[in-house]
Symmetry: C2
DNA sequence: CACATAAGCTAACGTGTGTTAGTTCTTTCA
DNA sequence: TGAAAGAACTAACACACGTTAGCTTATGTG
């Protein structure tokens, strides 16, 4: 079937996506060449096309995988029966968790999605927009119930989402602070504030 | 002297930098071509080289302008005589202010600096690293004085810096919320927390 | 008016890119 | 064992890019 034995659990296609995510994160989508990707995978550039349709497919795949993950989590949290603060906390913890476990993908989907082409670009933008909107609705409900300070909900959501997206410094911090502690720090600062 | 009268206050070189920052922000450094930049400026690509040395110079110029601005502000804040919380608040407000007034430049320096080449890349990285370190030192002093909760200072700085860097949604929010209110929301959420 | 110069233009070069065509090798399965 | 097919290879194409060379035009100063 193939020259090189493939692990039962991971196909070559998956390997290509994984390496691509790493390169896109490190150097950016545009700055990563198919030849470079191929070299890291251990084959020639042309051989990549036995497994994928093209460079854009790689970016699309990564971005929508992440977008779908977060959208599904939002479905789950919305339908849960708990306080608003708890919902916000669950979302923050999920973001941190995803960042720690799949940070290459999350980073790429966050920073490189601009390089997608239509019609995927519009679809992705819409998913992003909806996610933020749903997050803001939760915050607004929290404000109206008196659980949350009277602030602009969109600003709050913007702060949250971006606070967590700092992936370049991420690994450095992860190795100093363990990831549970990181999650807790994040929740504390964002929900309780800096001041003691 | 030139075919087109230049405004006394703005040289053509400045105009090129300004348009470049807009394009780099919108499409990314790599995805912006000199031909496209030239078209937006209203000249041919080759004519750009009468004003600048090359594409890399544009990125270098933008990044170091921003880095110098923040480094100078850090000098100022460090030497001020006030509480730690006030220092942190001053820095946050300055970040928001710079973002509102020069968001193209700030955004580009934050997201596109990877595309710089040596030796500028190393120098820029070092400036960034120093800035974060000095910021973290302030937070740590706040912790030891009991003004700030016992959290990981690096994580806190990471949260702050990234919370403010969400420029893509920035203009949208600015037009709904005025920029003073934005600054206040930011300070409230980050210093006092979300919970009421 | 004439000269120097700034700033524009056209044309082109060299390079790197994504991708395709065509071929060869290896493995699986009937 | 032999056919089918998956997956690798080499070679090349077409294109877009940053940049340079060389020329032309316009303008301010003597």
């Amino acid at each position: 079937m193939s020259k090189i034995k493939i692990t039962d659990t991971t196909s070559k296609k998956d390997l290509i996506y994984e390496v691509a995510a790493g390169l896109f994160r490190e150097k950016g989508f545009r700055a990563t060449s198919m030849r470079e990707l191929a070299a890291k995978v251990g084959i020639e550039a042309a051989s990549l096309y036995n497994h994928i349709h093209g460079k854009n497919d790689l970016l699309n795949g990564i971005c929508f995988k992440v977008a779908n993950t977060f959208t599904r989590k939002m479905d789950e949290v919305e339908s849960e029966d708990c306080t608003i603060i708890e919902k916000v906390e669950k979302l923050i913890r999920f973001h941190v968790h995803e960042m720690v476990t799949h940070y290459q993908d999350v980073y790429v989907s966050d920073r490189e999605w601009r390089n997608m082409e239509e019609p995927e670009l519009t679809k992705y933008r819409e998913m992003r927009r909806m996610y933020r909107k749903r997050f803001a609705s939760i915050v607004e409900k929290g404000i109206s119930r008196g659980e949350i300070k009277k602030i602009d909900a969109n600003t709050a959501v913007m702060i949250f989402l971006n606070a967590i997206a700092a992936v370049d410094q991420w690994h450095r911090i992860i190795h100093k602070v363990d990831s549970d502690q990181l999650e807790n720090n994040m929740v504390i600062v964002l929900i309780e504030g800096l001041k003691s």
